[in-house]
Symmetry: C2
Subunit: 696 residues, 2 copies
């Protein structure tokens, strides 16, 4: 018996064969026969991918629930596009999306209704499926993600009674209008005004300039009929800062914009084509006093202003949003890696050994070097996101008890993770696409949609550089405290060790322990170096603001190093803490975790040479370690991506389908082009023939 | 007088004020008033941007010619899109593109006809303008770029007589059909067959498998009516390898595909939406014997095969294609940097100093760090491309004399430059886009089109990793020769110095001399390290092919290091060799050149710490040097991009127009959306209202 088959069987036995039975993946019912190369790959893997699936879902029952939900949504013929939307005009794309979105949400609401308890897992799984079907942007997304969230957080019980249930039931459709044409990340700069008039007990909302037009909110173009709107509040002729107002945008019967409002969509974009981003301008729009969200700050009838007791509460939601972003980064990188790895297993090119057939491109070391790190990164981000998710749930409990102690630490952590993970995910998706050559450039590979969504995340929910600098500010404070001997919270405790010089291992060894220490040494040294140059600049009489700006390139790099150290540490500790997995599974997860760390180290080797116990003489052996990991992962690459258990409909890719019949699928996709319905396009007779016949 | 104004005047005087007169830029006739912030920036610059314009064009007369041509094309109302094509369906986009392309080429041909001498400069300039107007892909491009080139290179005089003039006059429209669905960079793997039948003196062409379908050729979908086709030749039942055949694809009168041919377009893509990439399958297509291109290899009437005397001649064309690619990389990076820098001069955000107005984002050091390196890279690539262009012209002369000696060196150089420059250009365009935040994500910023084109270049004309490995093979040979004491050609002469240990400076100094040496030290050491590990592996009994694959990650990195060393060296020597420029101009070009080098060094500092005289203790001062360059370039940033003298129509960007009225332009662009022509879209009545009214 081939050793790998033995291991495979062993895995099944050790985990209990029963455990895996009764779970059929509908992807397997793919209509084409399995490609021979993929079949061989699947025979080769040293573990049972289903064990990974169950591990990632969080249990056997959850895998079952998810697959049932997937069948329910993905096999529904009403949710298929008659023609791939990429061939449609911008307007047709919107109309087709609204059609599908209404059907989807109706289904989703019915599911919720039909069960006594629509579990959190089921709800999350269903929303992931919704996102997969509306992969180029969901025009309803802001209703759930921001409108309802804001009402829950900032509306009074009376306001919630009036609006929340209607929004939850999709009687009204809301969006979140904050960003303006001239104002993004810097919220204090918003220009929209809301003046309170005690005589009518109304706010009057205005967009005083073109740059104050609300710009970007998803679904605001032609879809939403309500919005929560951020505006500068003025009462009793005093400016009170930015507050949130609930505003009806369109008539519920006719959908016409309400009086005094100019509403439209902002045009075509790099990606997210169907999210229907909109603009909105106000001209003397009157709303009653009870439409300012007043759970915290309040405006009384006479215009007196009552301040919010605390504004840290908002951190909880930010952490939530960023954990979800991290999960999405991990998910999308997983999709990209799956597509590229399956394609690389069936694509053959060139001649590695004279006389032999063209090899699978997955056998090229350079190809493995492009793909496996993205696969590894997907796992590292997932482990980090899981840890944060658990933490978020602890924090929520603490918050309810009035404890805000851990918020600044975690807010700082989430800022840098948001930046690093969104950036790395986008880069990873692009690397996978480029590794698929020309065919990766086809829309039907699904890479362009994935990249369009992935790269957008670098900008929204806090621009990445701004995020990094927020974390850097926290890190500098923590460094100062460490120097003063103040005990630091867990995620920055390594700074105290750096101050005292007890940073751990003296000389480098190729172990995960060395790696974790080295990443923390680098982060601590970069923070120290920034603190020192800032001190020097201030001593030279440079103002604190100029000093900050002058040091900002390195400050952003500090925050990146902190994020990476955290991801590496959490990946290592997550795997160390896994006890209910087979030896084969654990070994693969360890390889992936090490690959993420070693690859990241080598890509930043200058920092490690300068600031950690890694020396020039270690680099060759670290490179060998990385290449060994690529080699070890090679036989399981297809098995691992099979373990993600992505439905073909979620992959939505000619190159990534389970069966691997890429050329047939590419040709079928081309056949769907409306241009191919006629052998000669009318432009020949109108333009081309007259030109060719007339030219000199 | 403010010192910068003094310098500006000095520049004008020293260069001769007359020299700049009489050149008006039509971009200046932009319909909106100049944004105040840009006006101030333009006052600040320490040099006259027109001097840069003239320098880049290559002389005053050329600037004049180019601007006249631009007026002629860009102001033609027939060449404007009634609606921006991004709003159209895939099919409408194609039809609108054919309309414009026919008008464009008619104009272009008339220009050629109306002049006694249509100079090479004028022709190149006009073609650049054509590309700007057809920025998302020119469906005729393959006729000139590949069909005509191939006929010139490989057709006999008789064949040229029959086809070339018709192609040059656009009586027929050709494309180049090489790549197949299953076969890209590896040409020997092509599957299309051409069997010669002496009894009819015909070739019979077939596509034996789905993976042999021709796939990707530009214009092949519904536009071209002829193609040169690469196929495996069989005569006298012997396989003769890949040869080129001229094949009529469509009837000249009806445009219907010729018998036995299946033709269509391949569908939607990440970018290059209007280039009309096509597929093509043959079923027993008969063509006469004289339609194999027989300038080199020949098939005689009886089927006897006559080999080509040499196949190195093809290198000349490859060098040509890659020089053009480098020029395009430099051009597109320039466009991206212009858009992002102008936007960053008018965009204001956040609060740098308490109480002061929001600063221009161009004043943030982190923003300068994102934008100025791309600007610098654009110049570095341009200098490199210019040097190569001159060389190419020398080589052509040598070739005609039968001297092939320098071809392998230059072919190797062009391979790695193709890879590094296309990759860096794409990355630079993306960095500029991300630096423009949300608005950079809008199609109307033009970044998505620029990136779509830039990233495609990493794949076509030789996939980048394959290119790097080709160079690596040459470098290893050169290294071996260096060790044997063989004198090496100029571009790899530094390897001989590395072998003898005479690599120049002993200790690092912040000078360009140190930089050039350090880049060469890094490249040489990486090549040496690869050669050593390969030797070790082979000694262990590993086969040469496995050794090559095992070392390929590092081999690719060698070739990158070689390319970077070359770009740095050529940039430095180009500027050193400039004598007819003002001191102010030269100082700015020097800053840009140093920034490219220092930025690249810091981004690869691990290599420099390991392999050059740079030590850890130098890094802080190199970082300071880089930041000083950012600071020095800041006042001239807008001046430099003005100096590119890009017409607003070429920038095609709401964010990058000369006047800087970004918010007005964004709003106008949104107003063009067909969705915004109605206040309520029909999908409300059809889908949304029924859903909202019915939901629970």
């Amino acid at each position: 018996m081939h050793p790998s088959v033995a291991i495979r069987q062993l895995t099944l036995i050790s985990s209990g064969a029963d455990y895996f039975s009764g779970l059929t993946n509908i992807s397997m019912n793919s209509r084409k026969p399995e490609h021979e190369d993929l079949k061989k790959e699947r025979m080769k893997s040293t573990f049972n991918p289903l064990e990974l699936t169950i591990l990632l879902d969080g249990g056997r029952e959850k895998t079952k629930i998810r697959r049932e939900l997937e069948s329910n949504f993905f096999l529904d013929p009403d949710l298929k596009d008659p023609v791939p939307i990429d061939f449609l005009s911008h307007k047709e794309m919107y109309e087709e999306t609204i059609r599908k979105t209404c059907i989807l949400y109706k289904k989703f609401l019915e599911l919720k209704k039909s069960e006594d308890e629509f579990s959190a897992f089921r709800e999350r799984a269903a929303m992931t499926i919704v996102s997969a079907i509306l992969k180029d942007g969901n025009p309803f997304v802001m209703n759930t993600a921001m409108f309802i969230t804001t009402l829950r957080r900032q509306a009074t019980p009376e306001q919630q009674k009036k609006w929340l249930k209607r929004a939850l039931d999709f009687k009204i459709l809301g969006t979140y209008a904050q960003t303006e044409l001239g104002h993004g990340t810097y919220i204090r700069g918003l220009e929209t005004t809301a003046h309170y008039h005690p005589e009518t007990q109304e706010f009057v909302i205005n967009s005083p300039t073109l740059s104050s037009y609300k710009w970007w909110p998803g679904g605001m173009g032609h879809t939403a009929n309500y919005a929560v709107v951020a505006a500068q509040l003025y009462t009793q002729e005093v400016h009170r800062g930015v507050h949130i107002f609930i505003v009806q945008l369109r008539d519920e019967e006719t959908h016409e914009p309400m009086p005094g409002m100019k509403i439209g969509e902002i045009g075509t974009k790099f990606g997210m084509h169907t999210i229907n981003n909109g603009f909105l301008a106000f001209q003397n729009v009157h709303i009653p006093r009870d439409q300012m969200l007043m759970k915290n700050a309040k405006v009384l009838e006479d215009g007196s202003y009552v301040k919010s007791p605390s504004d840290k509460l908002v951190y909880g939601t930010m952490i939530y949003v960023r954990v979800v972003m991290l999960q999405t980064c991990a998910y999308q990188l997983g999709l990209a890696a799956t597509i590229a790895i399956r394609y690389s297993a069936v694509r053959r090119q060139s001649e590695m050994k004279p006389g032999e057939p063209e090899p699978q491109i997955l056998d090229y070391r350079t190809q493995q070097y492009k793909l496996f790190p993205s696969l590894a990164t997907s796992f590292a981000f997932r482990f980090t996101a899981n840890w944060l998710w658990n933490l978020y749930n602890e924090i929520i409990v603490e918050l309810e008890k009035g404890t805000l102690r851990r918020l600044p630490e975690l807010h700082a952590l989430c800022c840098c993770l948001k930046a690093v993970c969104t950036y790395e995910a986008a880069k990873g998706v692009e690397t996978c696409r480029l590794a698929c050559g020309g065919h990766g450039y086809m829309t039907c590979s699904n890479f362009s949609t994935l990249y369009g969504a992935a790269t957008a995340r670098c900008t929204y929910e806090g621009e990445n550089t701004v995020m990094l600098l927020q974390t850097a500010r926290y890190l500098l404070k923590a460094w100062q405290q460490a120097k003063e001997g103040v005990a630091l919270p867990p995620t920055v405790a390594y700074l105290s060790r750096a101050v005292t010089g007890s940073t751990g291992l003296k000389s480098w060894q190729n172990t995960t322990e060395s790696i974790v220490t080295a990443f923390q040494q680098v982060a601590a040294s970069k923070i120290k170096s920034c603190a020192d140059s800032m001190a020097k600049r201030m001593q030279m009489g440079i103002s604190p603001t100029d000093t900050w700006n002058m040091t900002s390139i390195e400050l952003a790099q500090c925050a990146e190093a902190h994020a990476r150290a955290f991801i590496v540490e959490k990946s290592v500790s997550t795997i160390e803490g896994m006890h209910n997995v087979s030896a084969a599974m654990k070994s693969i997860l360890t390889q992936l975790c090490e690959l993420y760390a070693v690859y990241t180290l080598l890509n930043n080797k200058g920092d490690f040479l300068m600031f950690s116990s890694v020396t020039s003489s270690n680099i060759a052996s670290i490179q060998q370690w990385m290449e060994m990991l690529l080699l070890e992962l090679r036989p399981n690459a297809v098995g691992i991506v099979d373990g993600f258990d992505f439905h073909d409909a979620a992959l939505s890719s000619t190159l990534g389908a389970w069966d691997g019949q890429v050329y047939e699928r590419l040709f079928e996709a081309a056949s769907q082009s409306p241009l191919n319905k006629e052998s000669v396009n009318q432009s020949f007779h109108k333009y081309l023939k007259p030109f060719l016949k007339s030219s000199m």
